[in-house]
């Protein structure tokens, strides 16, 4: 018998009593104004910056103002001026040295400032390797809590285009951080040192 069958058989033999999946329909915390809560969580606990985009604003101009010293911008978004494109670089390593990566998020969650970023590009390294990351968030995609966020993903999954092109997505809440040295909070561990949300 293969290892696989051995494990499965043992698991079936060793169960003594079975339990049902619980009802998860209890009431969850929601916010009267999820957008306001998302802005609050993003700019406080998550340690990110947030720019509210007004009608007529030029996104490229806003990005330049937020990161005036940036030399290399990477993006595959059609309306963003970029020096590198994660779809056309020859390998992930080519994205090293990116000052600012610009990507578009999906659902965003008020309770913890998480923004879903699916891999809508060939090299997802752009999400982590860039010294700073800019995520475009649409107001209509903001929900209160993670239960609602996963409902949003389920709906996307059921839609024809699916969640993402290549089957990876990540909830990102603020810049990369660590407190591994004497519990001192430091931004910019292995991934982005700073994060800016452009709220449209």
């Amino acid at each position: 018998m293969s290892t696989r069958e051995n494990i499965l058989n043992r698991l079936r033999q060793n169960v003594r009593e079975t339990y049902d999946m619980p009802d998860l329909s209890f009431e969850k915390t929601t916010y009267a104004d999820p957008i306001a809560e998302f802005i609050h969580q993003t700019t406080t606990t998550a340690g990110a910056k947030l720019i509210e985009v007004k009608p007529g604003d030029d996104l490229n101009e806003l990005i330049r103002q937020a990161y005036p010293d940036a030399h290399v911008i990477a993006s595959n978004l059609p309306n963003i001026k970029a020096d590198k494109n994660p779809d056309t670089v020859s390998c992930a390593q080519d994205l090293d040295g990116t000052d600012v990566g610009v990507v578009e998020g999906g659902v965003a969650c008020a309770e913890n400032a998480c923004v879903w970023v699916p891999m809508n590009m060939k090299q997802k390294a752009i999400l982590f390797i860039s010294e700073s990351l800019v995520i475009i968030v649409h107001r209509e995609n903001i929900v209160s809590n993670m239960h609602e966020a996963y409902e949003w993903l389920k709906a996307k999954d059921a839609s024809p285009e699916g969640t993402s092109l290549y089957g990876f997505g990540t909830f990102i809440s603020g810049p990369s951080k660590t407190a591994d040295i004497e519990q001192s909070l430091v931004y910019g561990a292995q991934a982005a040192k700073s994060l800016t949300v452009l709220l449209i």
Partner: protein, 473 residues
């Protein structure tokens, strides 16, 4: 007879400042968890739900593993099964050899610690680089983790600096580290062992490794059966860097990590970081579904004893654990004895239980590391009855041949005393005589209790005697 834990703890306790710092560090994490707990009205319902989802999944684990495998395979992942650590290491080596891997970058994974992956890789000439900052510091120092979430919290910034200097990291990556903070001269930062500076030095040191490695390895916090994907939660983004540059990704997953679907995931995502580190979320909650373009994605499902734990009527619920670390942070014994005092690589209440399930003879020592305050049970996000289980293990120590002979003799003495009222009354009558004995006779070190306490003063009259004479008002 003292257990290995109590002996090791005694040594650790000699450094008062270190113990206090350790204690306060973990208590502060517990306190942060409490703040978040009070923010959610559904907190206890979430814990209850998490416990019940796990109970359901674990008692239907074979079905869910099959569903997970089916969906993961359909996504293009390659699923492997390992019955134990040896088979697991063999599978890893086969994959690595097929891809001619020389360097691996690795996210934090307790399962790989359990299976001694790193030493096995090194034995085969493969360079393995831990990429979680705390894990990397310990790896460079040649030390094991002392906590499952904050592995290097017992190391001081000075120690980190000295080690980075020895390894040549400050020399090679210091300039970039300082510049990333907008500082041109690193001298002052180095003199102060500035944590931001040291973190940034490690950032660029690890960056070099991410660029060169041919393989990235991660664990998994969750494996979702309905979609066949795994979920990895980190703050640093190291698991993501490890899997975004090298084209080969190997995920090591304990079979108990499977959960049914996204509905369950919503519950666990909200609980994990709030419990473990007192954050509303980790910075990254990454869902890996398919291999990257031109890449390969291997998932190794590891049993290594877990399927047998299920048969244990008293201890099977340890399989609910999602390794958040909350039970360690709250445990008064862990906080004052630290991870290295335990004989099992996972310390604290959950480690005591997992160690006993794994190897009773090697790990019974840890059963003494519990005051039965049950704080662990009150914080556990999946309601594992950790302290109660430790109590049950203790009840069985005698049958395992590991009872403390001194305590056993005392228990037998007490049994005789308490079963014989006349003897008890007589003993009580003469007890006050002990008050006038010199302390070197009563405070003998043979009696472990006297190590940290002075003997109590016996009252001249017992309650019994007073009651009989009507002196009790």
């Amino acid at each position: 007879m003292s257990t290995k834990h109590s002996k090791a703890a005694e040594k650790f306790l000699k450094d008062y400042d270190k113990v206090t710092r350790h204690d306060q560090t973990f208590w502060s994490v517990r306190a942060k968890r409490d703040v978040l707990a009070y923010e959610l009205k559904e907190w206890e319902q979430l814990r209850e739900a998490a416990s019940n989802i796990k109970k359901h999944t674990i008692t239907h684990l074979a079905d869910y593993l099959e569903e997970f495998e089916r969906n993961a395979t359909a996504n293009g992942a390659i699923v492997h099964w390992a019955k134990d650590a040896d088979e697991y290491n063999d599978i890893v080596m086969q994959i690595m050899q097929a891809h001619d891997v020389h360097k691996v970058v690795k996210g934090k994974s307790m399962l790989t610690e359990e299976c001694h992956l790193n030493s096995n890789l090194i034995k085969h000439g493969i360079d393995v680089v831990e990429t979680d900052l705390g894990e990397r510091i310990l790896q460079l120092m040649g030390l094991p983790p002392s906590h499952i979430i904050m592995p290097a919290i017992h190391i001081t910034r000075e120690q980190v600096k000295d080690n980075f200097a020895q390894q040549g990291i400050l020399e090679k990556n210091g300039k970039m580290g300082a510049e990333s903070m907008g500082v041109s001269d690193k001298t002052q930062l180095e003199a102060e062992a500035d944590p931001t500076y040291l973190t940034r030095c490690a950032r660029y040191h690890l960056r070099d490794n991410f660029m060169e490695a041919e393989c990235g390895m991660t664990g998994a916090n969750f494996a979702i059966a309905s979609t066949g994907e795994i979920v990895v939660c980190t703050n640093e983004g190291n698991a993501d860097m490890s899997t975004s540059v090298p084209l080969l990704h190997i995920a090591s997953v304990g079979i108990e990590k499977v959960i049914p679907n996204y509905d369950a995931m919503g519950v666990f995502q909200r609980l994990l970081a709030r419990h473990g580190t007192g954050q509303a979320t980790t910075v990254y909650t990454s869902h890996f579904r398919k291999p990257r373009p031109e890449g390969e994605f291997h998932i190794i499902l590891v049993d290594n004893g877990r399927s047998n734990f299920l048969a244990d009527p008293e201890h099977w619920q340890t399989l609910k654990c999602m390794r958040c670390g909350a039970c360690m942070n709250t445990c008064p014994v862990y906080r004052r004895s630290m991870g290295y005092s335990y004989t099992y690589f996972i310390p604290g209440p959950i480690g005591i239980n997992l160690g006993m399930l794994k190897d009773k003879d090697a790990n019974y020592h840890n059963c003494s590391a519990c005051s039965l305050c049950l704080s662990c049970e009150n914080v556990c996000p999946v309601q594992v009855d950790l302290g109660t289980q430790i109590y049950k293990w203790r009840q069985n120590l005698d049958s395992m041949g590991h009872a403390d002979p001194m305590k056993k003799a005392m228990s037998q003495g007490m049994k005789i005393l308490f079963q014989n009222p006349k003897l008890y009354t007589t003993a009580l009558k003469f007890a006050p005589l002990a008050n006038s004995l010199p302390s070197f006779l009563t405070g003998i070190k043979l009696n472990a209790w006297c190590k940290y306490h002075t003997m109590p003063h016996f009252a001249s009259k017992s309650f019994h005697e007073m009651w009989k004479k009507g002196e009790v008002k």
